[in-house]
């Protein structure tokens, strides 16, 4: 009987046939690489171009834009996901099963880069969050701990990122492409999150035990400066200020000079994003830059558009004349043609909700086998970090610190301006006469003060323009404590009344508007005809700015609530030590 039993027991000893057990894994560089690959796919934002903000909106406003009761506390989810952190801590715990010490170092550094990346997202969203650097057990007390101060998180993030900077491959060639993280990407991340933290604390007047905001601004400036000094990157230019900016984003492959870290898209592999169709197909959101945004583009001579007479009620043709060349490389303006085509295209008011129709990331129509205009068929690589952002971060950190010099501007902002043929930003001129438009309650940031007020406003202008559609704006508003910008008017092109309008500058009508109650005008083929108040909503009865959203109920941004997102209800129920962020009603009475 006993022999029978033990024989049976052996029959029942079955081992997995198509999977590897944990103890046999993490042994080679390939194992570490495969295990860390999912961090890229899971954490990177693959559609930064469609974020909505006060600078660029869609037909249907996001919950953040609508505010009030459109933003609620979720029961679960809501960004409170920690799966990837666990994977990172697992890798860090098991990496030394691998005998290849160089590989251990490299993938430990890579993983710590992503841990800093992960926590940056968490801090941006929730403020204080719990810090974990071990694989948690199911009985761990730490599961139920209260939130750690953002000071602790930031301190640990700096430790992680410094380790990454020290140990990640330092030659671009070693990683062979901008699609894998190298030490320069780690410096870019450090410059980014330290700037975020420094400005957040400065504007929210947050003083925590530990470091003050200047420490973070200094860290940011130092990281950016190190990258600028020692890194192999430069701005992409072919000496064509009228098109280099646009070309950069529409190129099939990430530009290795400027893109420090990018996401690969590939027609052959069917890996796509939707940026092209997003701006071209009327069912994809109908994005448009806001009038407020368009107004911030300087005149070509470096003076503010909003300082000239009559700027408020200019026709489209007139207002876009002689502006910062990036305007014509960000939206359709007279003479616009698709890359690779010669047909002049007018802004399509049925595809762009403000009339200011974006063109960034719009590819050559022959891309993607000629299918690029179809939904989800864009293949140009998307930037995660690019050199221009580092330069902007550097200038802003220095300006906010009060240590900015003209020399700093010349090696950062002014390089960006030179690429597009704009005159240099002069610090003393800017500070002598801070821009009214950018500091007004209605259109700007009234909370910027101090000696550098003028230059800070200009840096913000530059940042808004240069990083348009790259996913930065909402976070910028949060760290600048500028939530009220969300409430500023959302409007578009100006139309003085019914009539025919030329938007391409060829003297022929592209758009005909007619008033309700009048008969629909006969129009030539290709001419857009809209009934005012019904098909095209203007701010006035029969004239004014396109104001598609004027009848949509929006609740003002809540200064007390909306800078942070809520913790999901279930998580607070499971861990009563988690406090809710201020102002959020999750129905719980504790």
């Amino acid at each position: 009987m006993l022999i029978g039993l033990s024989a049976c027991d052996n029959l029942l000893d079955l081992q997995p046939l198509s999977q590897i057990s944990q103890t046999d894994y993490f042994k080679t560089e390939t194992d570490l690489q495969l295990f860390s690959n999912s961090f890229y796919n899971n954490l990177l934002d693959k559609s930064p171009y469609d974020n909505q903000s006060d600078l660029c909106v869609q037909q249907n406003l996001s919950d953040e834009m609508l505010g009030g009761s459109n933003r609620t506390v979720p029961a679960s989810g809501g960004g409170w996901s920690w799966t990837d952190l666990r994977k990172m801590n697992t890798l860090l715990a098991y990496a030394d099963q691998c005998k290849d010490e160089a590989a251990v170092l490299k993938y430990t550094a890579l993983t710590r880069f992503f841990r800093a990346f992960f926590y940056f997202e968490k801090v941006k969203r929730f403020g204080d969050v719990p810090w974990y650097d071990i694989e948690l057990g199911s009985a761990d007390e730490a599961l139920y701990k209260a939130r750690d101060s953002r000071e602790l998180i930031m301190t640990n993030m700096i430790k992680d990122i410094d380790y990454a900077i020290a140990n990640l491959p330092n030659e671009k060639e070693e990683t062979s492409s901008p699609y894998r993280v190298n030490r320069w990407a780690a410096m870019a991340l450090k410059a980014q999150f330290c700037l975020y933290e420094g400005t957040y604390r400065k504007y929210h007047q947050l003083s925590l035990e530990g470091h003050d905001y200047t420490y973070y601004l200094e860290q940011s400036a130092a990281a950016a400066e190190e990258l600028m000094k020692t890194g192999p990157y430069k701005l992409y230019t072919t000496g064509h200020p009228e098109k280099d900016y646009l070309t950069l984003f529409a190129e099939e492959n990430a530009n290795p000079d400027e893109y420090i870290f990018a996401i690969k898209f590939d027609y052959g592999l069917n890996i796509y994003h939707n940026a092209t169709a997003y701006t071209l197909v009327p069912t994809q959101g109908r994005p448009g830059l806001t009038r407020k945004m368009v107004n911030t583009y300087l005149k070509k001579d470096g003076t503010a558009f909003t300082n000239q007479a009559g700027w408020q009620e200019m026709s489209f043709i007139d207002e876009v004349k002689d502006r910062d060349p990036r305007l014509a490389q960000s939206i359709r303006t007279p003479g616009y043609t698709r890359i690779g085509r010669t047909e002049v295209l007018a802004p399509d008011l049925s595809t762009s909700i403000t009339g200011y129709q974006p063109i960034k990331f719009v590819q050559d129509p022959t891309a993607s086998g000629g299918n690029v205009d179809r939904n989800d068929r864009s293949t140009c690589d998307l930037p995660v970090y690019r050199y221009a952002e580092v330069l902007l971060n550097y200038a802003e950190a220095k300006a906010e610190l009060g240590t900015l010099t003209q020399d700093d501007l010349d090696k950062s902002i002014n390089l960006i301006r030179q690429r597009v043929g704009m005159p240099d930003l002069n610090m003393s001129v800017a500070n002598a006469n801070p821009d009214r438009y950018l500091s007004s309650d209605e259109t700007g940031y009234p909370n910027v003060t101090g000696a550098n007020k003028g230059v800070i406003l200009e840096i913000r202008r530059e940042r808004g323009i240069e990083l348009m559609q790259e996913g930065f704006r909402f976070d910028d508003l949060v760290r600048w404590k500028a939530g009220h910008c969300i409430d500023q008017s959302i409007s578009g092109m100006y139309f003085p009344g019914p009539g025919e309008y030329d938007l391409t500058g060829d003297g022929k009508a592209d758009v005909i508007l007619y008033a309700a109650g009048t008969s629909k005008p006969i129009a030539a083929s290709g001419v857009q005809v809209y009934k005012i108040g019904e098909e095209l909503i203007l701010s006035g009865n029969n004239s004014g700015y396109i104001s598609y959203h004027k009848n949509i109920e929006r609740t003002p941004f809540s200064e007390e609530r909306d800078y942070l997102y809520p913790i999901p209800t279930n998580e607070r129920s499971l861990n009563n030590n988690l406090t809710q962020n201020p102002g959020w009603k999750d129905g719980l009475d504790f």
């Binding site: 029942l12 944990q22 037909q59 069917n270 209800t569 719980l588 009475d589």
Partner: protein, 1082 residues
């Protein structure tokens, strides 16, 4: 046909004329007690009579010698010859020994029904015959108390969910199904092959199956050939009919009301229009609102120049449901069997073919099922028999669509408003239009219409068992068997580019990614199953009073599963589906992928059972099994599952004799046992495994394939072991009034211990699925009662037999251990929780004025539920009651003790399941009806359940309820059921908060089956060599009554279940079946 039948009847009841005399007498039972109601019939005539209360009878008979037939339910019929001179006779009828000796199949043996001490219910083949249902499992619904069968899908060939005695475990275990002793599948058995089904409900009877029997065992025994001197019996049964949905398909088909309603809801949410139609357009729609067909003066599609382009404007009244789906679709079934044998060789061969067309219209979905079985028994010598039982099952479901037919229905249920046609006037498909930010019908109508998205789901199942039975000495028999089963699923799924036109002057657009890619997927999943049993049975009676029987044995089985899958894109042909046709993409690359995976498990067990009875009066049984499984780690692998039961046949006691007139049999039963459940989710639950995967869409620009990544499975607890179900059962079996009334009742308590649960819910910072642990207990209390009444009497001098039966069961399950001391709702369970309880808010009608609403909102903070309440609280919103009086509407501490403003509103588990059947048989005619239903149970419709919520869910639904606005609150419709229009209210707004106002009671009573048949008298059919010929009609799921009907005629109460995500949008309708059949034996 009917005329022919009538003629046959007329002939059969034509009376022979003769001279008459009277014969009288008495009918008594063996105890000399008179029998009332015995049918007496003169053989060869239709003359007859019935005995009176004192057993006396008298009837007129011809003067020559006659034979009288005495028949009575529960007694053996008796023929008595009456000589010409005889006038007075006394007849003694004996109780039907077969009835008493009826045997029941139990684990590794059979037992006399009267001696059963466990709770075992049987279903005879008669019950299953003629049911116009396609699967055996469906036929069992409602036929056994405590066997709960719930239909989970209306898709042809889908299998229902089965459980014995309610919620078995929070892991939802299913009963073990054995077909002729080998693990099988109820849906793959040919119902015509079934001899009997035993449903083992309690622990004692199931104990010999140990680790898999915790939640009941269903033993299916198939028919065998019988010794009939070599004569073969051939039976053919076939039927043909049609199916149609059980619920309404009458949706809004006028463009005007469709656009009007949906725009109204859309606008309430976003302030914009969903269909960008102007007032002019709406007037055009209104002008056509009564046009059933297109009026040449008012075309349904108008070509106009707008925004600088030629455009099609759509003003139609299209019925999207009936353009794509049909209500009536044909079904047929054919069965042939041949059986026979001699003393030494018996055989049975059977084959069946089942053909069903589904609801898809342009390219119908078709389900085909094939069954074959061959059974042969050889008697090798005096003490050895060998048998082989081989069966084959094959099925094939072909359908058009993306992924699954349910998926196709669900995604097609959006964005196709009645104003839109499927095709533009130029014949191109409509998919994208400038008036819509979405895609019409998500393009699913193109797939269905083009026939370009071909899917085939094939399953085959081959099983062969060879068994040797040796009987060396009389009371002992030794059985050894070996079963091999090979079953496989093979799925093919093809998609193709879809072309459409957006503007009259535009080029054809193409939908070429995702569901529109030119791609072929093939997957094969093969399972090899081996099992072997060896056991010895012993059965002996000593001194005529001590009866001892028992079995000991060994069982081993193992299953290996292997998957292979592959896909390729850019096929060179759009009509042929083979991976050899995979071509290259425009970059010259070949896009293919492969997948694999295999795993296995093994089980071994030693089992035994001993039965003893004294004079058939005191019955004892003890059994047990020592079971091991590969699914747990060494050390936690083996378990011992004992049980015992006892019975007392009071009716056999001498003191009971006086009562035996009334009560023919009364047995009390009690049992206790402990069983295991090894059905944990994975075959290697105790190990953490690394998998290597391809990204769905990520590349590092290295090489021409997707990048790979590895993942580690969630943490595990190393000491996982069985769930154990300990079950008490008390019951009685009662037969009375001459066996006409039979009652069986059982009560039980089942404690499911150490349930494997996702441990405790952990905060998300844990970052992985929570490891499973044996950490929860559940107690289920329940009862079952079944009552049958059978009797017969004479109508128009012919015997009329009838029966009526009723069964009912109910249960209640309570969590008795769970790691949630704070009783928070953030964890799934808590100690003391009754399974299925629904917590929600209490409401107090709709605000009838905005002042009232605002005043209330001022008093009570409604911030928790105001998502999507645009324009603030106003008339037509509904009033949530501040139950705890704290002036904040909320969820308090989110615990049972501090639930905020919520309370228990009902329970989602059916409270009272019942079945009622009745049948009558007379002069060749037979009829039966079967009803089935449940008592109160509740359902809060999922937010995405469009057939219930309409545009309160996703507002752009295709299948808008007809006249929906009459249920929508408006100033002139203040008594409406629903609130003011509010898109997304049920998915994320106030309607998504479970509340009493919209909680649905989904109890139902279903007219499950009606069968009417006529058997042509054998005397006629024999002339043409036919032993039996019967024609019948059978209808399944004929109608239902349910409170749910009050609020929606589009959801069958049995379909009121929460499906995964989008699948709630629309579902494949549950079907009713109407069939005409013939059954011929010769």
């Amino acid at each position: 046909m009917i005329l022919l039948l009538l003629l046959l009847v007329a002939e059969s009841i034509s009376v022979l004329s003769a001279q008459n005399r009277v014969v009288s007498g008495k009918v008594l039972d063996t105890q000399q007690e008179p029998l009332a109601g015995v049918t007496i019939q003169v053989k060869g005539t239709s003359k007859g009579s019935i005995s009176k209360a004192d057993g006396s009878f008298s009837l007129q008979v011809p003067s020559e010698a006659v034979e009288l037939n005495f028949s009575y339910v529960g007694y053996l019929s008796q023929q008595v010859k009456v000589t010409p001179g005889e006038k007075n006779i006394t007849v003694h009828l004996r109780e039907d020994a077969i009835l008493l000796g009826e045997t029941v199949v139990i684990g590794y043996g059979t037992q006399k029904k009267v001696n059963l001490t466990g709770a075992v219910a049987t279903v005879e083949s008669k019950t299953l015959e003629n049911r116009a249902s396609h699967s055996l499992a469906n036929m069992l619904q409602g036929s056994v108390a405590g066997l709960n069968i719930t239909t989970s899908s209306g898709v042809p060939g889908s299998s229902p969910d089965i459980n014995v005695r309610g919620v078995t475990s929070i892991n939802g275990a299913e009963p073990l199904v054995l077909v002729d002793g080998a693990v099988g599948d109820l849906n793959r058995v040919n119902p015509n092959d079934v001899e009997s089904i035993s449903v083992i409900k309690d622990a004692s009877a199931a104990a010999v199956y140990g680790a898999r029997a915790a939640f009941g065992v269903i033993l299916v025994t198939t028919k065998s050939g019988s010794a009939q001197d070599g004569k073969a019996t051939v039976r053919y049964s076939g039927r043909i009919g049609w199916e149609s949905p059980t619920t309404s398909t009458d949706y809004e088909t006028t463009g005007y009301w469709s656009v009007y309603t949906i725009n109204k809801f859309w606008k309430a949410n976003s302030g914009t229009l969903y269909v960008n139609y102007t007032d002019h357009d709406m007037q055009q729609l209104l002008a056509r609102v009564n046009d059933k067909t297109e009026n040449p003066d008012r075309p349904w599609v108008v070509e106009e120049e707008r925004n600088g382009r030629k455009q099609w404007v759509y003003y139609g009244n299209y019925d999207w449901w009936h353009m794509q789906y049909r209500d009536n679709h044909p079904v047929q079934e054919h069965n042939v069997s041949i059986s026979g044998g001699t003393k030494d060789i018996k055989y049975l061969l059977s084959g069946a073919y089942d053909y069903q067309q589904g609801i898809l219209k342009a390219n119908p979905d078709i389900y085909r099922k094939y069954n074959m079985r061959s059974k042969i028994d050889f008697r090798i010598n005096k003490w050895t028999t060998m048998s082989n039982n081989t069966s084959f099952y094959g099925s094939q479901y072909t359908f058009q669509g993306d992924g699954s037919v349910e998926n196709t229905l669900a995604y097609g249920a959006r964005h196709a408003l009645a104003c839109f046609p499927m095709k533009n006037p130029d014949g191109s498909w409509l998919y994208s239009t400038p008036y819509l930010n979405y895609k019409v019908g998500n393009g699913r109508h193109i797939m269905l219409g083009e026939g370009s998205h071909r899917n085939v789901e094939r399953a085959s199942d081959f099983s062969t068992t060879t068994r040797l039975v040796i009987t060396p000495v009389k009371p002992l028999s030794i059985t050894a068997d070996f079963t091999y089963r090979l079953y496989q699923t093979r799925n093919t799924s093809r998609s193709n580019n879809m072309y459409f036109r957006e503007y009259p002057d535009a080029e054809l657009g193409v939908y070429a990614t995702g569901a529109g890619a030119n791609r072929l997927d093939e997957a094969v999943n093969t399972r090899n199953y081996y099992s072997t049993n060896a056991y010895a049975n012993y059965d002996q009676t000593f001194n005529e009073v001590h009866h001892l029987s028992g079995v000991v044995g060994f069982n081993y089985e193992t299953l290996k599963r292997k998957n292979v899958s592959a896909y390729g894109e850019y096929l060179s042909s759009t009509t042929l589906d083979d991976l050899d046709l995979v071509g290259q993409n425009p970059d010259g690359e070949t896009i293919t992928g492969v997948g694999g995976g295999q795993n296995e498990y093994a089980l071994a067990g030693f089992f035994g059972r001993v039965n003893y009875d004294y004079k058939g009066r005191y019955l004892f049984e003890a059994s047990g099994r020592y079971d091991g499984t590969s699914r747990f780690a060494k050390g936690s692998r083996w378990g011992w599952f004992p049980s015992a039961s006892a019975g007392w046949r009071i009716s056999e006691e001498p003191f009971f004799k006086p009562a035996r007139n009334v009560i023919n049999n009364l047995k009390l039963r009690a049992s206790y046992g402990s069983l295991g459940n090894q059905n944990v989710s994975s075959y290697y639950t105790y190990m953490r495994l690394v998998s290597i995967n391809d990204f769905a869409g990520y590349s590092f620009g290295e090489g021409s394939a997707m990048a790979k990544y590895s993942t580690l499975s969630a943490p595990v607890a190393s000491d996982l072991t069985w769930e154990t179900a300990q079950q008490w059962d008390f019951g009685f079996d009662l037969a009375m009034l001459n066996n006409r009334l039979n009652v069986t009742a059982d009560g039980y308590v089942r404690n499911t211990k150490n349930m494997l649960t996702d441990g405790i819910e952990l905060p998300a910072v844990y970052g992985a699925s929570v490891p499973q642990m044996n950490t929860a207990d559940l107690r289920t209390n329940g009862y079952e009662l079944s009552v049958t009444w059978r009797d017969q009497f004479t109508v128009a001098q012919r015997k009329l037999e009838y029966s009526i039966g009723f069964n009912v069961s109910d249960y209640k399950s309570i969590i008795t251990r769970y790691d949630n001391s704070e009783k928070t709702f953030a964890k799934k369970y808590y100690k003391g929780m009754r399974l299925g309880e629904i917590w929600g808010f209490v409401t107090d009608g709709l605000f009838q004025s905005t002042e009232e609403a605002q005043a209330y909102a001022k008093k009570v903070d409604l911030g928790y539920i105001n998502k999507g309440v645009t324009g603030g609280w106003q008339a037509g919103d509904f009033k949530f009651v501040d139950l705890d009086g704290d002036n904040i509407l909320g969820i308090g501490g989110n615990t049972v003790d501090k639930p905020g403003d919520r309370k228990i509103l009902g329970n989602s588990l059916p409270s009272f399941s019942y079945g009622i059947n009745a049948s009558v048989r007379w002069s060749g005619f037979d009829a039966s009806v079967f009803f089935q239903g449940t008592g109160n149970h509740y359902w809060y419709p999922t937010g995405q359940a469009m057939p219930f919520w309409g545009p309160y869910s996703y507002p752009y639904l295709t299948y808008l309820q007809k006249d929906f606005l009459k249920d929508v609150w408006a100033e002139d419709n203040k008594d409406a059921y629903f609130t003011r229009p509010m898109a997304y209210s049920s998915t994320s707004g106030p309607l998504s908060k479970v509340n009493d106002r919209y909680l649905q009671n989904i109890r139902y009573l279903r007219f499950k089956n009606l069968t009417v048949g006529y058997t042509i008298p054998a005397s006629l059919t024999k002339r043409i060599g036919i032993d039996m010929a019967r024609f019948y009609f059978s209808g399944e799921n004929l109608c239902y009554w349910s409170p749910l009907k009050k609020h929606t005629k589009y959801i069958d109460p049995e379909a009121a279940i929460d499906r995964s995500d989008a699948y709630n949008n629309a579902y494949y309708p549950w079907q009713q079946t109407f069939m005409f059949g013939v059954d011929i034996t010769f």
